[in-house]
Amino acid sequence: MWHGKGQIITYDDIVRYPFIKEASNYFKSIKLTVEDLTTSIGRKILERAYEKIIEAIKYSRTTIDLSQDPEVEILSFPVTLLLLTLLGDKSLIIKYAVAESKRVGELLKTESLEKLYYIAKNTFNWYIELCNEEVNGIKFNVKIHFTDYIKFIPQSSKEWKLVNRFVKQGMVYIHKSELARLLEEAVKKLIIEKCEKANVFIPNIPSIVAEYLEKISRVWSRNRADIETVTKITTEHSEDLYPPCIKKLLDDLKSGKNLPHAARFALATFLLNIGKDVEEVLNLFRYSPDFNEKIARYQVEHLAGLRGSRIKYVPYKCANMRSLGLCVDIEGKLCKGINHPLQYYYRALRRVLKSGKKK
C-alpha cells in the first residue's frame, strides 16, 4: 500500500502526517466519495473532520486521536479539506492550515533526519542532500537548493535571510531543526493551496454534510465576532492597556517633550507591533518638537519592515528598557512577571476580553 524506501514511512506516519505522498496515494486507492459520508463509518469521519476544524478555530491547534480507528483519523484529513473548500472562507482555510501545520511541526522536530529528508524529497520534491560538512567551523548534515529554501522561509528574521546563510553552488546549509521548520511552512502552504485550487463541484451535497457545514459556519462566525470585539477594544481603549513605560513615553510625546532616539524606537516599534499602521504612528510623532515628516516617515517605515532590511522590528524587552533608562517600574509593582512590554499589553487585552464575555 505504501512503500517507503526501507520502510522509512510507517502506517503510523500516515496517520500523523496525512499530507505526505504515501497518504494521498492511499486516499486515491480508497476512492472515497461524498455519498460514502452518509454511511456510519462516513459519519464518523465527518465528525472527526468537524472536530479538527473546531479545534483550529478554538485552540489554534489540531490534534490527532490515536485511540480511535486509525482509518477514520487518516480519512478525516481529505474530508477536512473538502469541508473547508466547500465553505470557501479564506481566513478559515488559513486558520486551519496554521493550526494543522503547527501540530505537524512539533512532531517533525522529534523525527529522524532521514525521515525528514525523505518527506522533503518525496512529498515536496525538494532538491535536498544529506551531507557531513563543516562550513566555517559549523557542522551541517543537510543542504537544500536555495530556490526551495526561499519559498518556505517561515518568518522574516535576520537569521533566516538567504544573505546570512552559507550558500555554495546553489545549496543552502541548514540544521535538522530548520528542515523541520521549513517543512512545517510547506505543509501550511500545501493545505491552503489544496483548498483554494481544488475544483469541487458537487451537485447534491448530502444533508448530513450540509449540516456539518452549517455547524462550522456558526462557530466560525461567533469566533469572528470575537475578533471584531478585539479590534473594537484595541481601537477604543487601547491606551489603557499599554504598559506604564509606553504610557509614559506617549504622555511625554504628547506634552511636546523631545524623546531621545531609543525612546522613539521603543514607542514606534511597540505601536507597530500591536497593529497600528504607519500613518497612525506618524500622526503621534507629529507632537514631537523637531518633527520632520520625511525623516520620520522613512524611520517608521523602516521599523515597520517596509524599507531597507525589510525586517519588522520588535520593541526592546524589559531588561533593555531598564538599561536604557526607559523603564518606570523597576521594582516590578505594576509589571509583575512581565519581561516584555508586548507581553503586558497582551495580558491586559486578554483580561478585558474575558470580562467582556462574562457580561
Binding site: H145, F146, K151, I153, K161, V163, N164, Q169, G308, R310
Partner: protein, 414 residues
Amino acid sequence: MERKSNVMLLKNFFKKYYTRQIQNIFEPNNFTKREFAFIMFDKDGMIRHISFENLAELRRFIMKNIPRHVYYSSAYYENPSSPTMEDKIWLGADLVFDIDVDHIETPCKKEHDKWLCLECGYNGKGMAPEECPKCGSKKIEKETWVCDICIETAKEEALKLIDILIDELGFSEKSIYAVFSGHRGFHIHVEDDRVKDLDQDARREIVDYVLGVGLDYTLLCTSSRFLVLDIDLREKGWRGRIARGLYETILESDEDLLSKIGIKRKEIKRLLQDKDKILREIEKEPSSWFLLTQILSKKSLELLINYVIDKYKCKIDERVTIDIKRLIRLPGTLHGKTGFKVMKLDISEIEAFDISQAFTTGMSDEVILEVEELPKKIANYKFSNTKGRITVPLPIALYIIGNSSKPVKLVKVK
C-alpha cells in the same frame, strides 16, 4: 518636443531595419504563453494583452505596424491575451535582473545628463534627484545619454552579477544570457525550471542576497564578539566579497576616502601609517585582521564594512526582479528612443561588447541636424560642435532625434 518629420524619419528607418532584419527577432521560450505589448509611433499609450501563435505571426505584426517599442512578458500565462490579470492565470516567470546606469552613480553623468524640475524650473547636471531639492516636487524631467563609460560600468555590474549567479547560486552558464537594453544597460535572464514558480517574496530574497541587504555582521566574526573578524580573502560568498573589498579599500585608501567613510582622524593616521603591514596580514592564509581591528573602533569598522557592501554589491534595479508580471524589451527589436538594437548576448560576449555593435547601420551615411545643445560626447561619438548645425552619422542622428528633450531640426539626409 518631437516634430512630425523627425518621427517620420525614425519610423521610415525602423521600417527599413525590420525589412532587412526581421529574422533577428528573438523567440522567447514558451512563446505562445507570453503576453506582448507595443508602443506605436502614431498612437498614444501602450497596446497590450496580445499573444501570438508563432514567431512568424509576431514578425508579420511587426512588419505591418512598425512599432516604436516592443515588449514581452517575463511571465507565462494560461491565457496571455486576456485583458485582466485574473483571467490571464499566471503560470510562472523567468528570473530577470535589470542593470541600468540610470540607477548607478557614474562620473560621466555630470558630462551628459541633465534634469529639470517641471514645477519650479530648478535644474542641474548629473544624476537626477528623486525629488526637486528646491521645491520637493517629483515631476522631474530628465535627459540622459549613454557614453562608453556608462557601458563599461554596466558591463562590470553585469559580470559581477553573473559571477554570483554561477559561483554562489549554482546556475549553469547555459541557463543565463544577457540582453543589451538598447540604451544604458543590460538585462540578465535566468531560464531555469527551479526559478519559474518563485513568488515575489522569494524573489525579494534573491534581490536582498545580491544587494547584501540585511547582512548580519556578526556572521563575519568569531562568536559574537564583533571586533574579531573571521573572514578570508579566498572565501566565496559575501564573507569573501567583504574580505576582498576591505583589502582593496585599504589598498586604495587615502585621507579623503577614509574621512568620507566617516573614520576618525586619529584612526586614519594610524591606518595609513601601518597600511602595508595591515595588507600583508590580510594576505596571509587565513587572513588576519588583528592589526586593522586594533586600530579601528567597532563603529569605524562598521562604517568601513557598510562602505564595502555598498561598493561591491551588484547595482541592480530591484523592482524588475521582484515584479513577476514585468514587460521587458524583446531582443532583435529597436529601442524607440535611441534607435539602437536590443541585442541578446551570450555571457562570453559581454566583456567585448561595444555600443557600436548596437548601431543599425554603418557610420558612412550622414545627416545634417540643427540642435540646441548636446553633450560633448554621446555613445562613442565626439562632437566638434554641440550647438547649431551639425553633421553626424545616421545612427547618431537617430539617437539625437529620438532622445533629445530639446527641439531638433532635421535639415538634410545626405
